[in-house]
């Protein structure tokens, strides 16, 4: 039985969010997919493809002490710019003026966890400024795709800092254990996409 030291009892959630059908909107999901593909993590770390689940993700947040989230961000930067946002700098708010529940941003998920008194203590948003969010069915654009590897590196540094380092897989991940299957994994999704 593994003896837990204070460091590795931290519950850590590594989350990727976004819509894979919408070009660079899919950055977060593709980043977490690739991270999971190449790295194994200790038991106290959960890796999750959050898709566009909005408020339904609040329970996963509640169960985490530390949160890393990959997402497309709009900070008015150059397309493909990678930005690490920490703790109080990560936006949290709730809006009542939105048109639909489907407009729930991740900031509202954080705000909801906060309102319940169970927001992760440490937050790290690894964001990438998108080039194209409007290409329905399109692939990640080149400037965003090239930021996946650096984004994963950042996540690895944070995990090491939190005492729960990720280790590069020595045995390739079996196909049935992949985060996304049924042809929506990154390679198949783009390989069989519509002709460009």
């Amino acid at each position: 039985m593994q003896i837990l030291t204070p460091e590795n009892t931290k519950r850590i959630l590594v989350l990727g969010i976004g819509n894979i059908l919408w070009a660079d909107e899919g950055f977060g999901v593709r980043a977490v997919e690739q991270f999971h593909h190449h790295y194994a993590v200790p038991n106290n770390v959960t890796i999750l493809d959050g898709g566009t689940q909005g408020l339904y993700l609040v329970n996963f947040l509640e169960e985490a002490d530390c949160l890393i989230v990959f997402d497309a961000i709009d900070y008015g930067l150059a397309p493909g710019h990678l930005k690490l946002v920490r703790d109080d700098e990560v936006p949290k708010f709730t809006g009542a003026k939105k048109m639909s529940l489907h407009q729930t941003g991740f900031q509202e998920v954080l705000s909801a966890a906060d309102l319940l008194g169970r927001c992760p203590r440490e937050l790290a948003l690894i964001g990438c400024q998108p080039l194209d969010l409007e290409d329905w069915g399109g692939p990640l654009t080149a400037p965003v795709r090239t930021q996946i590897a650096p984004a994963i590196e950042l996540a690895c540094k944070l995990l090491a800092h939190w005492g729960s380092p990720a280790k590069q897989r020595t045995v390739p991940l079996p196909e049935r254990e992949r985060l996304l299957a049924n042809d929506i994994d990154h390679a198949n999704y783009e390989a069989r996409g519509r002709p460009i």
């Binding site: 969010i17 976004g18 819509n19 894979i20 059908l21 919408w22 909107e25 977060g28 999750l48 959050g50 898709g51 566009t52 689940q53 909005g54 408020l55 339904y56 609040v58 329970n59 509640e62 997402d71 497309a72 961000i73 709009d74 900070y75 109080d88 990560v90 936006p91 949290k92 708010f93 809006g95 009542a96 003026k97 939105k98 048109m99 639909s100 529940l101 489907h102 407009q103 729930t104 941003g105 991740f106 900031q107 705000s111 909801a112 906060d114 309102l115 319940l116 008194g117 948003l125 964001g127 998108p130 969010l133 329905w136 069915g137 299957a181 049924n182 042809d183 929506i184 069989r192 996409g193």
Partner: protein
Amino acid sequence: MGTQTPNGFKLDDSGKRIVVDPLTRVEGHLRVEVNLDSNNVIRNAVSSGTMWRGIETILRGRDPRDAWAFTGRICGVCTGTHALTSVRAVENALGITIPDNANSIRNIMQLCLQVHDHIVHFYHLHALDWVDMISALNADPKATSALAQSISSWPLSSPGYFKHLQIRLTKFMESGQLGPFRNGYWGHPAYKLPPEANLMAVAHYLEALDFQKDVVKIHAVYGGKNPHPNWLVGGVACAINVDGTGAVGAVNMERLNLVSSIIDRSIEFVEQVYLPDVVAISSFYKDWLYGGGLSGKSVMSYGDIPENANDYSAKSLKLPHGVILNGNLREVLPIDHGDPEQIQEFVGHSWYKYPDETRGLHPWDGVTEPNFQLGPKVKGTRTNIKELDEGGKYSWIKTPRWRGNAVEVGPLARCIVGYAQGKAEFKEPADQLLKTVDLPFAALFSTLGRTAARALECQWAAHQMRYFQHKLMAQIKAGDTATANVDRWKPESWPKQAKGYGFTEAPRGALAHWIKIKEAKIDNYQCVVPTTWNGSPRDPNGNIGAFEASLMDTPMADPEKPLEILRTIHSFDPCLACATHVMGPDGQELATVKVR
């Protein structure tokens, strides 16, 4: 200057124009423009969806057995219902049947989604259209406790509980960087609840947030994981092994019992919290019966929740099936999804191109070719439209019609169809609720009626979950553990060409997918989603859709603060493409309002 629409609405666009537009750079939103008369009453309404949803461009050439995984990604809220619709479409095309247990499990998952979505919709989107968060700070906790105990036996109702909540809420409001709820129209004259009712509702807002995370565990049990549970053409993706001790993926007795206990708690929450809240809120808004729109005229429900596996006839479907036209509740007309004359999509006012735009196309023959043309009276530019011209094309939403008729879909439509069919499980609760708040039958056809119908349906769905869970358990006890039929899994067993459709009742209304399969690959795939029905623009004959109709004749207290518009549009639980997780530094304002 007024014009009369064929479906009975008088439009007048001469007064000042109000534009409510979500201000984000991401597509996938809804824009509403209205004209007001000199008394600030809405006399013309225009709804425009900026979503663009040509799923067939993504699906063409792929394996039909994977379509559910793609369609499930269209939307973060309707994930499961798109997946279910998709597997039904493929099964219909290929003549694949599913075992009884798979039918029960699918029904439980679909009902679970209804319960979950209705609760989250009410508390976390719609309640704030009726509940003034800030007013709750002025409530007397003792009086709040008395109010809560007078309407329900729910235990969380002591003065101390509400006092503690008020302190937490105050602290939260004061924590500068959070600024929660700062985007509300707090203090608006259209808010009618006393502070105590507001405080009670805020308490339930939080409790619902806590509760909803239990409900989805059902999806994790039967779908293998959550979010993004697994679906399967030919059945469900979970194996049943009652003697198992929790082998990965297999559902054992402990998991089945977990589901049963979540169902019990769902019934309790809906009956002791959600329904009493809707009744209490309704009683303060009895004079705000706007927003009925098409509901008193033409409504449609495909029906769902088959009692018998593979039987999607009206007799087998527990959610009602049929169309009511022109307010004639004595006649419920049957729907055939395969009849090219019934469901058709038009694009005369939508940003797409057809060879002949006076005609509609049945989804099997549907085409999605963008054509972003603006009418001559548009104000602004192509990239920054200040005012739409509804005389031309003005929406990315197509214009579906049933035999040429604009219809409303959703919980109120289902309730009305069930009521018209005289089904006791829909008629009696509706009559009872109207009696409790002392409102006539006609009051059902309103924004409030839509909200109440959703709450009643949530209760119905929670009980139906229990029914199908019992059915499943009985079947398992009798030794039947089959959950999938793989006889026709292999493409070699399929015909060279096939076409089919699948339909469901998503929480927000009638949903269907149409598929054409050629040489084992997808040849065409079309989804007609509930918000396409409700949010559609005018058709070539000038009929307005459900959103537009629902806004007509509503008075606005303050045109700069369009609370009444949001309240009515929210009551439909609109579904727009989900792509809004992009974070900005200071939290974008989610809607702008321009008075012109």
